[in-house]
Subunit: 401 residues, 2 copies
């Protein structure tokens, strides 16, 4: 049978990306890979999870193993109401919270319920690859906004929005990772956060605040969430347990106006009925028993050491002319080679030298900015960071000459 | 902000179904509900899960809590290869298996990768509500095929396919639950299974075999899966752990030709990256340690008793003129009131009498067959079955007079 003839028009457009092919190379043995985006397994609170799981199976087995509602387990959403208030000064009601299968599903749901083909969507440049995969089925027209060390440049955003308004249009969504952005590692300063919200009001646009790394701050002062500054239910907040508990549960939460949650629930019903309940109960108790508070300092200590080590090694081994961001948190930093250099062309040499990164162009919808790449510092061991950055320094020097 | 203006065209079409509103009524206290589709919590192998979970957290914590590949955990898919061979005589390679977040996600993926708006999709009449919710985003044109006590009437199917061929068209998919169908409770006999496959070859159509209940046989001889009779990779098989382990893990598997799996993987990447890994490892060990084999007889004994009890009570308390199916397995049976009666109109009286069912028209895309309803016999207690069927008999008699 010829399956290709059977696929939908949409499916025919879905192709395996060349980036995934490159990523496969990074998984070969002996390669020190800074390409992944994984939390370090040392950061998983295995003993806490074990204790919680045993207690749940002993006392609530019938509930945690049963189907749940599409919206999410009620007592878990109530725990999130408290958590959002206590940790982030965000007032959210239970019905403003939807539990999703990771933030990836939240992004997919947002694309599905908001984006018609050709609708404009503002993104940061570079942006998270997952948002591009989530949104591709709904064919948006991206409006990329440049960033610098202080995050998305909201002055450029304002100019763009003015321009678009002149055409009689407006973007459907502004997508941002304000804290420790993936891939750039930069954080939007307070002034720009406020400016972004003013613009969203002035131009009547919804803002998607994706906050997977907010808890992973290693230096500097915590900044308020956009959601905590949001007076007008304009911000759709995405939080996740993938970096503070475990990615293996696929557990995230979307916080937005009830009308948006209700629509997202209808869309989610058709996709997977509900998010796995076992994980929801585990995460509930992880919050309620205070284990999240107890555990995060350990994760931060682990990752801070790795960030500092990688930055020190880069300082020592990367040649002049190469620039990189110094993230206050998160999992990634962003490297800019001198203009004219090509990180994609250099990738082959890197693999030959048994070290890997993600080419920067993967984070731009139009695949430009070829002189950039992303490094992850949370997953590799300290030894791998030392040896890998040495190798990478050598690769860059060879490529330069 | 006016969110309604912002929603996509697709989202504007997504409305809360009146059926869900009815279902809410069934959850009021004191109501004996046969409306749900839940496994009985007594069927959950809590102790097995606890033992497996502790062992996994002690020995493989770093792996089970980490992100997994979109395709699914390799060792879990390998366990499924063996299981499909040993239990069902189905030869599948690892790369022909995709792990999904319940069969609901598998159905959604199939709609996404195969269905263009207006494409014809063959369904059984009545059919599973979940397939209608999964497919609605892709706007198929349904071709409903009547069933009788021997399952889908493949002679009617053949006539329909001929007719459609004359118009120069062919359906994209034939969707069937051959064993213990939801909602009808009937099973397709062997002759029709073979006929269905012949038709799929003759007319060059893919078949989706949804098999959530296959393990739940209480009487009669096991019949071969369509997938085990499939010579030409025409059958896309959907299995799930929701009824043999626990729905709370949201764990199912799609088995199909590699080209189809590859396309479904691309679609799934954008939706949720991967299925929760914790559940995949638990299910792997549940198979590999032989606990599935050990546990199923207990579930079957529990459910067989409930089926027999419900059938006996119906025999005693339902008035003449009412007909129902006698399922050899699964979770549901299907009631047909005399022509002209309306189970939807009767629903109010049922609720007043503190008993509930799902109106049959919910299982038809065009909401006809108003004289039918579905009963679930796996979830209620024996006492609830006794009392609930008495109440329902009274309701039907009152409605008749």
């Amino acid at each position: 049978m010829q399956y290709d003839d059977e696929f939908s028009d949409l499916a025919k457009r879905l192709k395996a990306s060349e980036i995934r092919e490159l990523l496969k190379l990074t998984q070969m043995p002996d390669i020190i890979s800074f390409a992944g985006g994984l939390p370090n397994p040392l950061s998983f609170p295995v003993e806490d999870i074990k204790e919680i799981m045993n207690s749940l199976l002993d006392n609530e087995g019938a509930k945690i193993l049963q189907y749940g509602s599409t919206e999410g387990v009620i007592s878990f959403r109530d725990a999130l109401v408290d958590m959002m208030k206590n940790r982030y000064n965000v007032s959210a009601k239970r019905d403003e919270i939807l539990i999703t299968a990771g933030s990836q599903e939240a992004l997919y749901l947002l694309a599905k319920i908001f984006v018609n083909p050709g609708d404009k969507v503002v993104i940061e440049a570079p942006t998270y690859i997952g948002v591009l995969t989530a949104f591709q089925s709904y064919s948006p027209s991206y409006v990329p906004i440049e960033m610098d060390d202080e995050g998305m440049n909201t002055q450029i955003l304002e100019d763009k929005l003015k321009e678009i308004k002149k055409e009689g249009k407006k973007p459907k969504l502004i997508y941002t990772i304000p804290s420790f952005q993936n891939p750039a590692g930069v954080t939007m300063n307070l002034e720009r956060r406020k400016h972004l919200l003013e613009l969203s009001e002035e131009y009547d646009i919804l803002v998607v605040e994706d906050d997977p790394y907010g808890e992973l701050r290693y230096s500097g002062e915590r900044l308020p969430l956009l959601k905590s500054l949001d007076k007008d239910h304009r911000v759709i907040y995405l939080g996740t347990f993938s970096k503070v508990l475990s990615p293996g549960f696929r557990l995230a939460h979307m916080i937005a106006h009830e009308d948006i949650i209700r629509k997202a629930v209808l869309a989610k019903q058709g996709i997977d009925l509900c998010t796995n309940t076992v994980g929801q109960y585990v995460a509930r108790d992880y919050i309620n028993k205070g284990y999240l508070d107890k555990h995060m300092p350990k994760v931060i200590e682990l990752y801070k050491g790795k960030r500092d080590l990688m930055l020190d090694m880069m300082e020592d081994y990367f040649p002049d002319g190469v620039k990189w961001t110094k993230p206050d948190g998160g999992m990634f930093l962003w490297v800019r080679l001198p203009d004219g250099m090509d990180a994609e062309a250099m990738f082959k040499r890197a693999i030959e030298n048994k070290v890997a990164y993600v080419i920067g162009s993967a984070f731009y919808p139009n695949r430009d900015h070829k002189n950039t790449f992303r490094l992850n510092f949370t997953y590799p061991t300290d030894e791998q960071i030392k040896e890998g950055i040495k190798r990478l320094g050598k690769v860059i020097k060879e490529e330069m000459s």
